[in-house]
Symmetry: C2
Subunit: 324 residues, 2 copies
């Protein structure tokens, strides 16, 4: 069985060997740029790990794993443009290095390239992998649409928020695990438990991201701290702040929403102060624990010997406690 380090090394090597050799080169330089920025490679790692539970050789699942990594980076490329984000993984975003049109068109080519990578899968898995990936990709677009719509809405419920992050973040991890299960030859029930496991881990992962935006270490986080706060993003924290705030705190929050010009650090500090006062950090952490426990439930129902699940358990713990 491959260790987590083995798996990450294999993915890094495979990503670096990806070739985008269609003319013109200028269309693919931004793609190679964003893929070279690194990142946790967590989605392809989950795919290889899931496959490796059922099969020693993971070569057959490499196309599916790379497809997800290329697709994930495509979504970052277009989302950063839509969100007008300046930084990604501590480097300037594609539309900053080049321009908006390059980000649109290279992103489009990257989405097609993801399908091109997937098409190298063995024919016997193609139909199932293609269907799963395509449905997942549509769900992720739906998640981004909700995300943008929520920024313009005065109120968003926790339920709506969880549905948004399920679509935007969790389904891709779930898809990666299920793709690994399919190519690994897992039973239908196991593939479904891995999918549900991925959904719950994905929800916990995104809630951790919300927390890191406020409480993370700028050195390790890779994005600007407070980015969500500055664009009034209805995160889990803000949704509950708006629900639990005292009349004075309500007034302060809405005052910040309407302010057109301010010192960013002051707005971030003000929000953090309110979040601290309302105990929202602890509330988010308990919600993360809830989804983690849900994930473990599906994990425990997998019909494989415990020793096959060591790496998956290890990665789940890393994701739960991540600082970046």
């Amino acid at each position: 069985m491959l260790s987590f380090d083995n798996i990450l090394q294999r993915i890094e090597q495979e990503v670096s060997q990806l070739r985008f050799d269609y003319p013109p080169k200028s269309l693919y330089t931004p793609i190679e740029y964003i893929l070279s920025l690194g990142g946790k490679r967590i989605r392809p790692a989950l795919t290889l790990i899931a496959c490796n539970i059922y099969k020693d050789a993971v070569d057959d699942v490499i196309p599916a794993a790379l497809c997800l990594e290329v697709f994930h980076n495509f979504t970052l490329l277009h989302d950063d443009l839509m969100d007008q984000a300046d930084k990604r993984r501590n480097k300037p975003t594609v539309h900053k290095v080049w321009n908006a049109n390059t980000a649109i068109l290279s992103g489009d080519a990257m989405l097609i390239a993801a399908y091109n990578v997937l098409a190298h899968s063995r024919p016997e898995y193609m139909e199932e992998l293609l269907g799963l990936f395509t449905m997942t990709a549509l769900e992720i677009c739906g998640g981004q649409q909700y995300d943008m719509e929520f920024e313009l809405r005065a109120e968003v419920s926790e339920e709506e928020y969880i549905e948004m992050i399920r679509l935007k973040t969790a389904v891709l991890m779930a898809c990666g695990l299920k793709m690994g299960a399919i190519v690994g030859g897992a039973a239908k029930e196991d593939a479904e438990h891995l999918y549900q496991y991925g959904l719950n881990i994905g929800l916990a992962f995104q809630l951790r991201d919300d927390l890191l935006d406020v409480y993370g270490n700028p050195e390790t986080f890779g994005k600007n701290i407070g980015g969500d706060i500055l664009c009034n993003k209805k995160t889990f924290l803000l949704i509950h702040a708006l629900r639990k705030a005292s009349p004075e705190q309500q007034k302060e929050l809405h005052g910040w929403f309407e302010k057109k010009s301010y010192v960013p650090e002051e707005k971030i500090a003000a929000f953090r102060h309110i979040y601290d006062d309302l105990g929202l950090k602890e509330m988010a952490e308990s919600k993360i624990q809830y989804y983690y426990n849900e994930a473990l439930l599906h994990f425990s129902r997998l019909n494989v010997p415990d020793e096959k699940l060591i790496v998956l358990k290890e990665v789940s713990d890393i994701l739960l406690h991540r600082e970046s």
Copy 2:
């Protein structure tokens, strides 16, 4: 055998029955909008016609044909945003009705939806159709990249221009015909001749488009007349104008390129006057005839009885003499 009218009716009916039922609805309204604007449906028509040469029932090729129509409209959606075009088929473009972010994200969903439609093809054709479609889609992104780069360049050769329109326009028609041949069960040689036929018809089609931008009827053309001239697009006409112009005409053209503020109609009239003076309309028409003759050469090598080719011949003539 189906008539061209039968085929167009079938496509219109199939397009109107396309359902985009994934939440949120707001992501799919722009997709339904652009698909409802009509258009010639020439790409899916070519796919059905090619299939119908080899097989009476065309049902099996409907997913491939619809995939191409959805994909083509996706490219229009994103290209219009990149080109900042206000009108498409005489109606406001998606980024004008909604906004840039909606155009980006709904476009992305539309590209994925094209794959979702293609995935309904019969499994025995999937690998070949998927590979052909994906390579074609990448080529089309390459064509758009060249197109945007050429606008910033002082000089573009005819050869570079033809390569650009081959990628941007011709390969999709060629792909449509070849997909029809594949599903129809044509011999490899026939499929390749239909592909080459499509490339040449596509080049003639785009050169006709260049002409219509200058000499077309605004009532039937669907786009604003002179759009290419106003954005200094290096079309076949402008490339040869720059090559053949007298020193005074050179000065006039470059004067217009640099002007920041002007009456659009005056610029269009000035270019048209120079094009007329240099005989470029006739030159473009002879180039169109050249590609049409090349197309006919591949047509004549198809290994099928002549009566099977009546509809394809009819459509080629319509494309060659089109006014819209």
